[in-house]
Each structure stands twice: as C-alpha cells, then as structure tokens.
C-alpha cells in the first residue's frame, strides 16, 4: 500500500499502540515511552501538511463546476476506504481536507506538551495516565479523519471514555459531580446526532450508505433539514460549548488535572466546531440558513455575556474556561454569518456563485484560524495555571499576588499568553478574531459591534487576572517561597510561545491549506440553498 493511503490509519494506531506500551512497561519507563510515541505521531502528522495538495486552491470557473458536481472531491486527500460491516454498507473510510488536517497537527502537537507537563506531577498511576492520553490522541485523530458516519460516531463517543477516566481518577475534590455532568451533557447531545445519522442513512439511495460524502448529495426537504440541523446543533453546541449548554465546561475544567484541561480546551472543544463544518453546513445548508440567526445569537451571547461572566471569576481555571467559551463564540459566529453575507451580496445584485459567496470565506476561515489559535493559547494558559497549582495547590486568584517577583521568567510567559488571549496583534489570538469581525461587518454592523466588544472584555478579564496574580508586592509567604519554572516547564511554554507568535506574525501558511476546502464548502452550500 502506498504511504498516502495508510498514513491516516497509522496516525490513529500509533498513539493507541503507544498507549498499550505505556501500560506494559515499568513505571520508570512509561513517561519516556509515551513521549517517544507522541513525538513519533507528531512526526508522522507533518507529511499531512507538507504533502497536502493545495493545487486545488484555484476556485474559479472550472473548479466551481467540479465542486457542484462532486462535493466529495474536496475531502479526497490521503483517502482509504475498506469495507467493514458490509450488510449495512459501513466502511472503514478515512480522508482529510483543509478543515480537518490542521486540527490533526494541533492534536499531535498538543499531546506532546501534555505528556511533558505531566512528567513529574502525576504520581498516582502514571502508566494509566500516559496511556489514557495517548489512546485519546488516537481517538481524536479518528474523529477528524472519519468519513463514514458510523466510524465517526464510534470515535466521537469513544473519546468520552478516556476523558471520563482522566477527570474521574486524577481530578479534584468535586470530580464525581464534574464527570457525571460532563458525560451526561455530551451524551445527551450525541444521542440526537446518532438519530440524525441513522435517518440520513435511510435516505441514501440504493442499499443505503453511511458515507458522510454520500450525505452531501442528499436532497432533503426543508422540514427534514430543520430537524436534522437541530439534532446536529444539540450535539455540537454542547461540545463547543455554546451558551446556554456551556455550564459543564467550567466544572469539568476546574476538576480536571492540567493535562485533561489542556486536551479539553485545545482539542475537544474544536470537535464541535469541526462538526458544524463537516455535517451541519454541507448536509443541511437550508436548515443552517434558516436557523443561522439562532446560532449567531448564541455566539454573540457567548462573546458578550460569557465575557462579562469571566470578569467575575475568582478561580483562574474557571476564568480561562469562560474565556474559552467566549472565544469559541467567534468560531460559530464566523461559520454561520456566511448566510447573512450571501444575502447582502444577493441584495447587491450578485448572481454568479463566486459573487454570492464573496466575503463569506473570510468569516469561515477566521473561525477555523480561531479554533487553531485557541488550541495553542488555551493550552498555554491552562499549563500556566498548572505551573502555579503544582507549587501552591490553589487556583484562587486571591491566594496570589506579586508572583512576578519570585517567578519573573514565568510571569513573562504568562503575560504573553494573556495578551494573546486578549487578541493582541502579533499573536495568533488576533488573527481569527480580526477576520471574523471583518467578515461579520459585511453581514450586519451590530453583529460586528457586539463581537468587537471582545477587545475590551477580553483585555479586562485577562489583564485583570494578570494584575492580581502577577503584579504587586509579594502577597504572602507561599508566594515568597515560589521557585521559577524549571527547564521542562520552560521548554513547554517556549514552544507554545513560538507557535503563538509565529501564527500571529505569519498566518498565511495556515490559510493556504484552508482556501480550497472552505471555498469548496461555500460553493456547495450556496448551490444547495
């Protein structure tokens, strides 16, 4: 078999095998084994970028026709399809496009940092801890590459198990409440998705198919689209999470160990956003268009309401959790504002496909950039809280003060990441928000207005925390006794800082792999409206 065909499967299996190894070897070796496998997986994911076919990126004329005729074309990279359960026509079908590929590399990168961060901290059952993270990495990659609905659903639900264990075993005092809440919320959402997927299966012609790409070809009635859209919305909105189904996230974060929080914020939330792109928009474009107002409303509430709630937080992890919800609001806003943009174009007299979608790609790509960037920044912030928690065993802001006096190097990193969280230009946090606000302005001034409040709110909650935790006189003896970060912690934060700055100063390498898929998606959605 060719490299291009098996690479995705190898990417799913490598960390899972690594997880099994981590369980088998001695406690002394388990960390190194886990690190080796995480590094290996990361190395294997690099060709996805370097060999990614961006030739497609010419979206004009001929390409538009191609996408209309065969929307599946877009997802055909690194494809592999093997029969699995033939009686239901379920296949082991994997492949990536520009929407999923960056998220895979994000996953493999963040996992390395998580394993490094747990190096000395996890004293109880380190083997199981490492294994849980590696296995989860494989499962998450599976979610991103699955092109068969059953395969997708399998990975989607399987993901909950290691996370459940991570919070349940290595979590804080209220871990039971948090795990149950987390599990029930996400499970509640995904049940509806399962029903929708089975319904779509019954709608496919011939002997039926669970292929997501076949779903793209379906012509559904407006009512069907509405119901299926709502079913998907329930699943994805919980995952993102969107207001008002977000309350599980702060609890889960507070109780999760640092590594769990990092994976949760950096990757698992993105799966919700990814779901909108892979399922909701292309399968139910009509339903998405009809209910776009609702998603936009929920997104704007997330940005403003949750931004204000974040200001009021006293627990650092809760603050970052709420900030995550607000930032994810930009993702969903960018994805769903496209319908309003198209309407503006049509109103202005656009008739051709590429004229109708003009300006929409800016918003969608902004949302995707925001997902990737938030992966780095939220990971960095949770790791920063982890650094403090390991030393002081407190996440309460009021227990700190003047940390910059005793941990100057660490404080420099924390200020950088807080600034990135506040969307400072030059950091990756700026790029996505900037693109979404610019794209949204076209749709509606007030959407852009409300979205832009993040400039003030984001700065307020991020920097007020910095002020209270890092600046000022040394607050107490515990702070006075703090030791600055060690080499391992420095390495983790340094890598993240480099990434955050790189994508802030030069985001184009990320954008080039998005254009083709995003334009294809938009043409597809537009053609089916």
């Amino acid at each position: 078999m060719e490299f291009k065909e098996i690479i995705l499967t190898v990417l799913i299996l490598t960390p899972i095998i690594g997880g099994i190894f981590a369980l088998l070897v001695s406690e002394k070796l388990t960390r190194s084994v886990a690190l080796v496998f995480a590094l290996l997986t990361f190395a294997l994911s690099i060709p996805l970028y370097t060999q990614f076919d961006t030739e497609f990126s010419d979206t004009k004329s001929a390409k538009i026709e191609l996408y209309k005729a065969n929307p599946a074309e877009r997802v055909a990279r690194f494809e592999l399809k093997k029969p699995w359960i033939e009686s239901f026509n379920i296949n082991y079908h994997v492949g990536v496009d520009g929407l999923s590929m960056p998220l895979i590399i994000l996953t493999t990168f963040i996992t390395i940092l998580v394993i490094l961060s747990a190096w000395q901290v996890i004293k109880i059952r380190p083997k199981q801890f490492m294994a849980a993270f590696l296995i989860m990495e494989g499962i998450m990659i599976g979610v991103f590459v699955a092109l068969d609905a059953v395969l997708f659903y399998l990975f989607w639900e399987a993901m909950l198990i290691p996370m459940f264990l991570i919070i349940g075993i290595w979590g804080g005092p209220r871990k039971v409440y948090a795990t149950i809440k987390f599990f029930l919320f996400t499970f509640f959402g995904s049940v509806f998705m399962l029903v929708a997927l089975i319904y779509l299966y019954t709608k496919t012609p011939g002997s039926g198919s669970f292929s997501i790409l076949d779903f793209y070809h379906l012509t559904l009635t407006p009512l069907e689209q509405m119901y299926i859209f709502i079913a998907f919305l329930l699943a994805f909105a919980v995952k993102v999470p969107m207001w008002p189904v977000h309350t599980w996230l702060p609890d889960a974060h507070v109780e999760a160990p640092t590594g769990g929080s990092v994976i949760l914020a950096a990757i698992m939330l993105k799966i919700g956003g990814y779901g909108f792109l892979r399922f909701s928009l292309p399968i139910t474009p009509g339903g998405s268009a009809d209910l776009a107002w609702l998603v936009i409303l929920m997104s704007l509430i997330a940005i403003v309401y949750i931004g204000l709630v974040a200001i009021a937080q006293r627990d650092m992890k809760k603050l970052i959790a709420y900030s995550s919800i607000a930032h994810m609001g930009f993702v969903t806003l960018g994805f769903f504002v496209i319908f309003a943009v198209m309407q503006v174009n049509i109103k202005a007299g656009a008739t051709e496909a590429d004229a109708i979608i003009k300006g929409a790609a800016l918003a969608v790509e902004g949302g995707i950039v925001q997902m990737i960037s938030h992966g780095f920044i939220s990971a960095a912030l949770f790791l920063c809280v982890g650094v403090l928690y390991d030393r002081m065993h407190s996440r309460e802001i009021q227990d700190y003060g003047g940390v910059a006096n005793t941990m100057p190097v660490f404080a420099a990193f924390a200020v950088l990441f807080s600034m990135a969280n506040a969307g400072l230009p030059g950091t990756s946090g700026f790029v996505g928000e900037f693109m979404v606000i610019l794209g949204t302005f076209k749709a509606n001034f007030w959407y852009a207005f409300l979205a832009a409040t993040t400039l003030i709110l984001g700065a307020a909650y991020s920097l007020w925390m910095v002020k209270r935790v890092f600046y000022g006189e040394v607050a107490n003896d515990k702070v006075a006794a703090l030791k600055d970060i060690n080499k391992r912690e420095f390495l983790i934060l340094f890598l993240l800082a480099l990434t955050v700055l790189f994508f802030g100063l030069y985001p184009n390498p990320l954008l080039t792999v998005l254009h083709d898929s995003v334009n294809g998606l938009l043409i597809h959605v537009q053609s089916k409206l």
Partner: protein
Amino acid sequence: MQNTLITLSLIIPLAPLAGALLAGLFGKTIRRSGAHWVTIIGVAVSFICSVLVFKYVIIDDFNGGKFTYVVYQWLQSDNFDFHIGFLIDGLTAVMLLVVTFVSLMVHIYTIGYMKDDPGYQRFFSYIALFTFSMLMLVMADNFLQLFFGWEAVGLVSYLLIGFWYKKETAIFANLKAFLVNRVGDFGFLLGIAGVLYFADSLNYAEVFAHAEKTKFSGQVIQIIPGVDWSAITVICILLFIGAMGKSAQVPLHVWLPDSMEGPTPISALIHAATMVTAGIFMVSRMSPLFVLSETAMTMVLLVGAITALFMGLLGLVQNDIKRVVAYSTLSQLGYMTVALGTGAFAAGMFHLMTHAFFKALLFLGAGSVIIAMHHQQDMRKMGNLKKYLPITYWTALIGSLALIGFPGFSGFYSKDIIIEATRALAGHSQSGIAQFAYFSVLAGVLITALYTFRMFFMVFHGKERMDDHTKSHLKEPGWVVTGPLIFLAIPSLLIGLVTIAPMLFGGYFSNSIQTPEYNVLGEIEKHMDGGFGVGAFTLHGLLQPPFILALTGIALAWFFTLKRPDYAESLKKGLKPLYLILVNHYFFDRVYQAVFAGGARKVGNILWNVGDRKIIDGLVINGSARTIGLFSRVFRKLQTGYLFHYAMVMVLGLLGMLTWLVWPVVKGVFNGV
C-alpha cells in the same frame, strides 16, 4: 536606488527590534552596559537610516517623493490581500525623524535616570521595542499594519507604565491605560472593517484611490434599521474613536495623567512625544477619507476644542510636576486635533513635530529635577532650583517658552498657525462649533502660559522648600541627562522657524495629505501680502492677541506663585466649588470607575450567579435531573422483582412490536380488498 531604499527601510524598524531582543532575552549575559549599548546603537542606526531615507525620498524626490515596498504577505483570504509593507512619503519621513531622534535622546537619558534600577535591561528592551512598534506604525502602507503598530505601542505602553510592578498605583494605571485604549481600538477596528467592506481593500493606495474615484457617494450603511447613514461618515467617526483613545481626547483621556506612574523617560517618549500623537498622525494619513465627511470633521473639531480648553484648566491645580506636564500634553493634543478638525492637517502635523521636541525636553527636564530631588515630584517641596541645576533651568526655560508659543520659539509657529486656521474657519463657516474652537484655542494660550510658568516659578524660583538632606545633595545630573536636554533644546528653539515655510506653505505634504474643499492654510496664505514670510509672521505675532494672552499668563503666574502666593490660597478658598471640580478632574475617573469598572464586575457577577448558576444549572440542568429522579421514583415501583411481571411486560411489548411490523401488511391486505 530602489534596492538601497528597501535595505534602509528594513533596517529602520529592525535595528531597534534587534536591540530590544538582545537586551530583553540576553540581558543577564550582556549585563547592564551591554543592554544600553545594543539598544542605543540600534536606535542610532535607525536614526541615521531615517535621515538617509529622508534625503533620498524627499530631498532627491525619489519617484515623486513616495517609496513603497511590500515586505511579505501576512495572509490572503477571500481574495483580500493583507500584507506587511512600507510607505515612505513626506508624512512618514517627518515621523521617522521625530521618532528616532527623540527615542535616541531618551535612550541616552535613560542611562542616567535608571542607573540604580534593578530592571535596567528590561527597561531598555521595552523602549527599543516601543521604537520598533512606533516605526512599524508610521511606516505602514495599509490599515492592518497600522493596527499592528497601534496595538503594539499600546502593549509597550502597558508594560512601561507598569514597569515598577510592585507599585499598586502603577499596576492600576497600566490596566486602566490598556483598557481605555482598547475602547478606542474597538471603534478603530470597526472602522477598519468598514473600510474593507466599502473600499474592498485595506491597502492605503487602493482605499484612497477608491475614495478619490467614487467619493463613497451612494455608499450607505444602516446602523439604525431604515435610516441610511453615509458610509464615509461612519467610517471616519469610528476611526477617529481610535484616535481619541490613543491621543487621549475627551472622554477617553483619563488614562494619560495616570500613565505618569511610569518612569519619566517613557513619559517623555511615549506619553508626550510619540505614541500619543499616533492618533493625530493616523487622522492626517486618512485625510483623503476625512475630507469627504464634513460631519466627521466637525466632530474632530469639537472634541479637540473641548480637550484643548478643559484639560488645560486641570493643569492649573496640579502639584505633581509630571502631572502638570501631562495635562499640558492633553491640552496640546487638543490643539493638534483642532487643527485636524479645521482641515489644516499639515498644521496638526507641524504642531505634532514641534511639540515632540519641546514636550520631550520638558519631561526630561522634569526628570532631571526628579533625579536631583531624590524622586520627589511634589512642586511644593521644591523652589529655587535655578541655583543648583543651571543647565536644566535654561533648557526648561526654552521648553516652557516654546510650549506657551512665545514668538520665535518653535511652539509659536505651530500654535499660531492653528489659531489662525481656527479663526479663518470660524470666519468662513459661522458655525457655533468653529466659534467655540476659536475661543478654546485662544483661551488655551492664557491657561497654558499660566500653568507652565506656575510650574516653572515654583520649581526654579522662589524659596527653597526642600528639606536639608535633599538640599545638601542637590546637583546637576551627569552628561547623559544634560546632553539630551541640550540636544532637544536646539530643535525646540529653532525647528519651527526653519520648517514652517516648506511644511505648511511649500507643498511638503502635497503628496501625502489631502486638503479639504475649504483649504484654511491656503486662505491664510492668500491674506498675507506677497505670500508667506517667516520674518513677517514672527513680527506679526508680536502684535496679536495670543502673544498678549501669553504675557498675561506669565505675569499672573509670577504674581500668584512668587509675588503673592497667599492670593492663590484665598482664590482657592473663594472658588472652592470650581477648585473641587478641577482637582477631581471633572469627576471623570470616579464615574468611570463606578459605572464601567464596577458595573462590568457587577453585571458579570449577576450573569454568573443568576444566569449560569440559578437558571441554567439550577433550574434547567439540575431541575431536569430532579424531574428524572421523580420519574424514576415512580418507575421504580414498576420494578417489582417478580419474574411474571417482567414476563408479562415482555409479552405485551412483543405483541406491540409485532402489530407495528405487521400493520402495513394488514393495511395492504385491507386496502387490496
């Protein structure tokens, strides 16, 4: 020549950046002297390159006085191109010279001012980083990079105000500065979004071409549904909100006085000479847009006039030497904004330049006093420092005379032209706002002279009010402090005289600044016999009301501070309500603190405790959990544990399913019948 200019224009921002990185990341290795050497060399190289660029582009008139160069594509999306690129024309060239020169002086000065500070390397790294950011801002050829530089200078300003991060007032001030600036940036970003939407590009050249070609005519936006507003007015007002934040115009001025918590060199560099003028620069750069909207221009004029007058008044009651200078900066920024509002963008830029020199000089002079006084900033504890600090005294005198616009000094030319422009506009348009602006800038002259010389006399003349210990140590700081004072005093004295003719009447800005339909500067020139002459203008100034007002101000200051200080005290008592309003800065800070800072926290708490905890979690989530619990209590009764009960239910269920499966067949049979 193109290649030389590319190299030079890359070196200009990158040399300070390299210095900043070396001093910041390797500060421990290169030690204190290493840190100041790398940054000073970086900025000096940058200054030299700026001079060369000025020569090549402006004097040698390269490509019509305009050099552009795209460095790299930042991102491309939806066929919109966002890049990093340089534009050097008359406007940028003058900013380059001002920024790099003042920055160089401040760098040298810092060696003396910060010599005992443990954060020495960090400080040099920050100011070099600031220089880099400011240069990127002024060299931008597109809105994106402008916004980059805009926010980057805001970041460094935040870091520098909070440089002494143990000081509670400093870390309060830096958070406040950043947040207030963010309010401005909020408008600015929306303005940029508007530009992209209506002009389809963020590159100056394309946006201005669009403005020239279409005048944005017919482009409207509905902010209130059903009401069409002119797009260009909305864009300009939004952009100007950004300028109001950065250039500290009322009501977004509250952060600037507090920013004085930072070390004095940065007050000179950032909060007087360069960063705060970014708003003025930006509006001048956007002159092709602003001239299209009379409404926006009127707003600019009004905001500037309010700032010029009311912020100056606050300077009268301050006792902290730096705060007096800070309020004078606010007032002078108001003057520049007034100039922009009259359409005399060139005059605004001209005042920006002269102000950069004399205000940096005054701040560094204040810093020199503060060093000598062992970090005492209260003017009531100073007096007669003339005897101990002669160089500081004479340079401060030059700065003060320039600030009040004494004929011959640089400030005279720039301020007088603004007053003339406002008078011309007030005469031309007859609008109430223009009249008010004219009154403001005129009254402002008296006020400026009053507070400036009140400070000057309190510090350098009169009784020695310091304690004996301080007095015994009083001496002029070393050459690293006095050298920059002298080097800044020279342009404070001469720059106006030398440059007014070419800059305002010689078409220096002709390829970078657009003049409005009613060109005030052109009108002023028309009214001069035989065109503009520096000598005639200076002599003319000696007979005009501003000069008389300035002299009156000095006299009053002398009377109230030196001759009869007791009168000042009784005046304070007699006008108690007014005095209270002034010492409380018109209650802006308190209201903001209560309404915005307190309000946001309160609303956040309510949303969290009521919205999230009570309604969503309490009612919906745990409520449904309780409901399920209730149901399960009922259903539990069904689970009797008796096998035949279960069997019974199973049979019933099977029957039901069978019926459901068979029903279509049955129905078909019946239908067939």
